[in-house]
């Protein structure tokens, strides 16, 4: 399953495009949730440019994979991808925070093509993803897929895929919310092997380190105890990300929801935001960070 270096290099380039789009968003808005946005750049790159089943320029394709951004304040990272997959014109990047903009302050399904979930109030996205994943199961049960050719093969040899998979990007801080654990129980109960949750474990929330605010460790054991399949990865290593995503989706059929715990760094790649674990910055804090980012990452 090893991916060749060429793919990883391609994805590195894409990640840079995403970063520069994020800088452009911050240029115009002069504010944003920069820390959590930079920590999921590689995650969204691996998803949108390699892993997801989607059609260029067709955000309403019924069989597309769903992406639920539960940590909807980090929508800048998704917004930066959308022009690259033809969902919105790139001019939209200059309208973040603006009145009637497709790029609202928090992800908004009503306003933005390609956004599957309107979030902002934390801890609810995973429940929504569970609902979407149950919907896929019911739809498939109501209209079972035709038996693939050749029909004489025993069923266990035939690879089935769900109509769509549901990916949910969850922040580590929002795992403090009780509803996240309600959703985790519910996903295991309904054997949602079509659901893949990606935890952006950047270890900082607004008030400080998550281990001080509300200790989460050992997160992997907690998910396992709730009946999930869990894999821990470096959330900034594109090779690990694509390998883990492909592995998780190939395990479809085992009846277990999947969780990738992506260890990340808040404000990754931008020294200022990394040092200060910046959650939200405005004005000078954004401008300086963006300048550092532009110096560090080559424009593609």
């Amino acid at each position: 399953m090893a991916h060749d270096d060429k793919l990883i290099q391609e994805l590195e380039k894409k990640a840079n495009i995403v970063r520069h789009n994020i800088f452009r968003i911050f240029d115009s808005s002069q504010g944003g949730h920069c820390g959590g946005t930079m920590s999921i750049v590689e995650i969204v790159t691996a998803l949108y440019f390699h892993h997801l089943k989607l059609q260029y320029g067709n955000p309403d394709w019924p069989e597309r994979d769903r992406v639920v951004l539960s940590k909807a304040h980090c929508c800048e990272a998704i917004y930066a991808v959308l022009p690259e997959i033809g969902y919105v014109p790139s001019e939209a990047l200059d309208t973040y925070y603006c009145y009637r903009s497709p790029f609202q302050g928090h992800a908004d399904r009503w306003c933005t093509p390609g956004i599957d979930y309107s979030g902002g109030s934390l801890g609810q996205g995973l429940s929504f993803a569970v609902g979407m994943a149950i919907a896929e199961k019911i739809k498939t049960a109501m209209n079972p897929p035709p038996t693939p050719f050749p029909q004489f093969l025993p069923r266990f040899l035939v690879k089935y895929n769900p109509m769509y998979r549901v990916y949910c990007i969850v922040g580590d801080g929002e795992c403090n919310e009780g509803q996240i654990w309600e959703a985790i129980m519910c996903a295991a109960k309904y054997k949602l092997d079509n659901l893949i949750a990606i935890i952006d474990y950047n270890k900082f929330s607004l008030d400080g380190p998550t281990e001080e605010i509300m200790p989460l460790a050992p997160l992997d054991e907690k998910f396992k105890a709730f009946g999930w399949w869990v894999k821990e990865i470096d959330g900034h290593n594109l090779r690990e990300l694509v390998d883990a995503l492909d592995l998780a989706s190939n395990l479809y059929g085992d009846g277990k929801p999947k969780c990738l715990i992506a260890h990340t760094v808040k404000g990754h790649g931008i020294p200022l935001w990394e040092q200060e674990h910046t959650h939200l910055a405005r004005g000078e804090g954004i401008a300086r960070g963006v300048k550092e980012g532009r110096e560090r990452y080559a424009k593609v």
Binding site: I134, Q179, E182
Partner: protein
């Protein structure tokens, strides 16, 4: 005997509303195979039918109402029509923010059954009275509160056909009278005048329509001709019906089985104040919680405690008429 309008045929109180709900829910589920039942360990109308005929359309989320609400939103996003069912304190109160963020923001087609009202043996926790006020402030939400079994069934069928979030308030109260005939035309957002009157109008919702019907009998004996409007859609309010009643009688009494703060009374007050100022008395629960109370043929403590009976309503109507007349004479003397 008071003269009622078309489609009204008053019958004795019966617990038929519950079975009507059940039968209507079966009809809805049979008609549309996208209708799913999202449970939070608090039962469901027609659950027997679902278990027998479509077990895959039951999603049991356990005692986790916030999760159930958002799971329902996820299902609705994929084209299903989820129905939730619980007490209002849990289905709405516990899940308030989840409903706001995940259902209402995107107008997902989720239907919520919520039980509440002043009456019940269960006490302060379950005898919830704030539901109408709590939900009336929520954008994109339709609120239904039917007055009898026929209207319950029609409301459920109408809410299933309507595309968008609906809160169906199922009242905890003494048994309702049977009020409407089978051909009664129910429309979301339309109030129905059960009886026209010259002296005053009672605008009632849910169980209080039953008490209003009893009250006009008492008032007729005193020579007063009082009308009743059944306000079964609490949001959007039928403003035209309210303004018309104010024009005709100038004395409006609202009656609801819930808190008068944020409730039907306040909604009507706002419509009157902005369009057609009239004398108004709000009957309902003052700023307090409910408590346990049993209903027996001999006595109904909570009805007395909250002054929600027909006699109290009749007194309020007279008070309202007196207020109107004193206002008129004051204007004249100026």
């Amino acid at each position: 005997m008071p003269k009622y309008n078309k489609y009204v045929k008053i019958g004795p109180p019966s617990p038929a509303a519950m079975t009507a709900m059940n039968d209507a829910m079966i009809k809805v589920a049979q008609k549309n195979d996208k209708v799913v039942a999202v449970l939070s360990d608090m039962g469901f109308p027609a659950i027997g039918w679902f278990k027998e005929n479509a077990p895959e359309r039951i999603i049991e989320c356990g005692i986790a109402e916030a999760n159930a609400a958002v799971v329902a939103a996820g299902l609705a996003a994929e084209g299903f029509v989820p129905f939730l069912n619980s007490f209002v304190f849990a289905a709405i109160g516990r899940a308030y923010n989840s409903i706001r963020q995940s259902i209402l923001v995107d107008r997902f087609n989720v239907k919520i059954f919520g039980r509440e009202g002043a009456w019940g043996e269960t006490g302060i926790s379950h005898n919830h009275v704030e539901g109408i006020g709590m939900t009336r402030v929520m954008p994109n939400l339709v609120i239904l509160n039917p007055a009898d079994a026929v209207e319950s069934a029609k409301a459920i069928i109408a809410m299933a056909d309507y595309i968008g979030p609906v809160f169906y308030r199922q009242e905890m109260s003494p048994p309702m009278m049977s009020i409407f005939t089978e051909d009664y035309p129910f429309d979301i957002g339309k109030a129905y005048a059960i009886k026209d009157g010259k002296d005053a109008t009672i605008i009632a919702t849910g169980y209080m329509v039953t008490e209003a019907i009893r009250a006009i009998d008492l008032l007729e004996k005193d020579g007063l001709d009082v009308g009743i409007i059944n306000m079964s859609t609490l949001k959007p309010l039928d403003e035209e019906a309210i303004i018309k009643a104010a024009e005709e009688t100038g004395a409006i009494v609202t009656a609801e089985n819930g808190s008068i703060i944020g409730g039907l009374g306040e909604g009507v007050a706002a419509v009157l104040a902005e369009n057609m100022p009239a004398s108004l008395v709000r009957v309902g629960i003052e700023d307090e919680f409910s408590q346990s109370g049993q209903i027996t043929p001999e006595r109904d403590d909570l009805k007395i405690h909250f002054a929600l009976g027909a006699e109290d309503l009749a007194v309020s109507v007279k008070e309202c008429i007196a207020k109107r007349d004193s206002l008129k004479s004051r204007k004249r003397s100026r």
